[in-house]
Symmetry: C2
Subunit: 473 residues, 2 copies
């Protein structure tokens, strides 16, 4: 299944790098005969399992996993007016089944509010049933007309984690938005993916929400990628779907809700953030293989092989996910193979190492070579893995911040958004936002509170928000 | 979210028991507004996660998990003639997307051969690439016209585990069928679900297969449920999809393939097998909660509560999945609650237990009460859980075997299949099979080798097979 890479990859040309690397490093295969649909390679899927197991473990603290159907009848999908308006242009419809036209067309879920909330209507009775915090990890579908891109813009999003919560009051739902923000911070910190958190402007919030919070990261070409969103739904859906509870005093009240989602874009972000011209770099926390052990044998050398096997076992006992590469290939080919796939640490054991009772350790990030005594090698591997996780995260954060500019004019912001993003002050008027977007040739992505008094870069009126300007994927 | 059960359940009336218990015990909720689609309750999903984690752990020994798209273009689905003929009457079609008719209708996968094998064509180059053993756990769709039943006959099968393997020779694929059979045995043994393994008659094999092997279990009403199938595909699909490899000698040869699947029917089988009039019984291996600790306090009793908390922690340290029920309910209500949901073991700690420095243990299967010293209680819980797993499995096996009859006439077989299944001798002629099916008012489900010379129950000619007759779900 392996393909020999035939040309060096340059991350400076991110578009090309991205198109090439996912296939070559066996993350996904884009040759499936339908546009916007992707096949996960086994090695890509192994990474995905780690990433989603991590996400599950964070959610499982106070959410429960569940599963709702893929197919949503047309009348259910249309119940919330703003919601259907936001999605109708992207929906796939199942119209035939078993050789006949269906009586009611069924939508492939673009997201699951309208599949889940009719059940919440049945499940919520009393204030004692609240809060409810559930999530599911499912495939969702968007008939995107924009250019599709592997893991970034797909028509089948194969691993959409969507959480849905129900609360008694608006304030409790608001607190849940904070809690979800904190959870997402933790998740992306584990992946070493830096983020900017903003509130989406009103015209870009989730259809049917009171407000939306979003996590954006910056891709290597300076464009932003939305990697997580959190929505306060107020009681809009509760009113539409009759989700009511009996309060302690006996009255019936509408519930308040939130929902928040993360898709496989989280994997796109981690791959794009850490990769380089030599290939991928997978953060140790989620790397399916954290260390690869390579016996350096020219011809047969049973002692070296035995030591390599023993060391792999020692790593496994220490809780390190380790692979031994015994293939009949030159060591250099093996180095290249695992480096390209982003395995954090390479362990070499050759005759000289054996003489000195040591292992040689090579970091994927710095390519630094060190040695460690054989009997304390596993500890050293653990230490290096921790260090690399921290260092990848810090480097990615620095890289993003170096391309984040606070700008005083739209001209300045236009230059900044050519290879990054810009913060500027905005008065809150839609007219000004439109002018700012036109003049900067970018989009007003999100809003953040002002940290000091300032004036709108466009009209000079007192500023209301810091606005994030950028070009989004 | 809890519903109060209002009427006792009698497993003798299996249909009604089944309709009721899944909702009351919060496994699935069947009130979703589309026929044949089901919502997984959080507690049902927790069981499902355990069951599928078990299945994954068995497969991960020598398979790799992967993921292919849901949508299959019409022309791909139709490439293998026998295959499409077998499925076309059940396929759902997506015909519209983004407000327009699609150029090529897209099928919701009924199974994934035609999604996966075009990629195998690209992945398989040389004999060194073989064998390939992959699997995915996905939702598949069948527009069933028969009566749908929760977890048994669904239109969205939400957790279809399908494995697909590629081999150089027919014999190697044949050996894989054996290996898969062994893996499935192990899986169902862990669930305590008894099975009968037969080869499907030619007219009932998988569309496009050389032969099919199936696992059937017996439901409480004596009807059979197919819970796993394994197919030797020969080189039929390889010829259609041009899956070829270069043999060591340099020639290009067609590969040989197998595929095998298990759906959420495995969960239906385990629930139906072990449940009784008191509710569910979940085998300890896959029970999300293996033991529930109930403090017996009439009024406040901080000492009892503290002991109960401490014991739950001790259980957790011992690797037992334990829950403490501190709710403000009478102990009896709590007993009923957890018993109905099938938690294997109840631990009671009351003032008397505390005086004697003991815990009281109550088994869900036998309702037997024993006590154990507080400081060795966790060990005793572990021992009981192991014993209960074995005992559930053995009881289920006995129960099935008591309704398995070897019959010498079709009249005898007709009576046997009223509440079970029958073995009889068959000559291999289609005419005789049809007559046997008519006279026994049941179906010839599968074939097994004869263990001694015998004659066809219908025509008296020398027998070729032992045939399994039954009424299937």
């Amino acid at each position: 299944m392996e393909k020999k890479p035939d040309a060096p990859l340059k991350k400076d040309n991110f578009q090309e790098w991205w198109q090439e690397i996912l296939g070559r490093a066996e993350i996904v295969d884009n040759r499936y005969p339908v546009k916007g649909l992707t096949v996960w390679h086994p090695s890509g899927f192994a990474l995905r399992r780690r990433v989603y197991d991590l996400l599950r473990s964070l959610l499982d603290r106070d959410h429960q996993e569940t599963l709702f159907p893929l197919l949503i009848p047309e009348d259910q999908l249309a119940r919330e007016a703003a919601h259907i308006k936001g999605f109708e242009k992207e929906v796939y419809w199942v119209t035939r089944g078993g050789g006949e036209d269906l009586e009611v067309p069924l939508a492939l879920r673009p997201t699951s509010e309208t599949a889940i909330y009719p059940m919440f209507q049945l499940w919520v009775r009393s204030h004692a049933d609240l809060p409810i915090r559930i999530y599911q990890i499912v495939n969702v579908f968007r008939h995107e007309t924009k250019h599709t891109r592997p893991l970034i813009r797909l028509r089948e999003i194969t691993s959409f984690k969507e959480a849905h919560t129900v609360h008694a009051t608006w304030e409790e739902a608001d607190a849940q938005v904070q809690a979800a923000t904190q959870l997402y911070r933790e998740f992306f910190d584990h992946l070493g993916v830096p983020y900017i958190i903003t509130r989406r402007p009103d015209w870009d919030k989730f259809p049917g929400a009171d407000y939306s919070v979003a996590f954006d990261t910056m891709m290597p070409d300076g464009r932003t990628l939305q990697i997580g969103t959190i929505h306060h739904l107020g009681d809009h859906f509760a009113r539409t779907f009759h989700i009511q509870y009996e309060a302690p005093g006996g009255e019936r009240k509408h519930a308040h809700q939130t929902c928040y989602g993360i898709s496989e874009r989280c994997i796109a972000a981690l791959l794009a953030t850490h990769g380089d011209d030599r290939g991928l770099q997978i953060p140790p926390t989620v790397a399916p293989i954290q260390a690869v052990v390579i016996p350096i044998t020219y011809g047969e050398n049973p002692q070296v092989l035995q030591a390599a096997r023993g060391f792999r076992e020692a790593l496994e006992r220490a809780g390190v996910r380790a692979r031994l590469d015994e293939r009949n290939l030159r060591p250099g080919e093996k180095y290249y193979h695992w480096e390209f796939r982003g395995v954090p640490l390479r362990v070499e054991i050759g005759p000289k190492d054996l003489q000195k009772n040591q292992v040689t350790l090579v970091r994927r990030d710095t390519l630094e070579r060190t040695t460690a005594p054989l009997d304390r090698g596993a500890e050293e591997v653990q230490r290096l893995l921790r260090e690399m996780g921290d260092s990848l995260r810090a480097a990615a954060r620095r890289q993003m911040e170096s391309r984040l500019r606070s700008c005083a004019t739209t001209a300045e912001a236009r230059r900044a958004t050519e290879g990054g993003v810009a913060w500027l002050t905005w008065c809150g008027q839609k007219d000004c936002a439109e002018a700012i977007e036109t003049e900067t040739e970018s989009a007003l992505l999100g809003l953040s509170p002002l940290d000091a008094e300032a004036r709108c870069v466009k009209c000079g009126a007192p500023g209301k928000h810091r606005a994030l300007l950028g070009r989004a994927y």
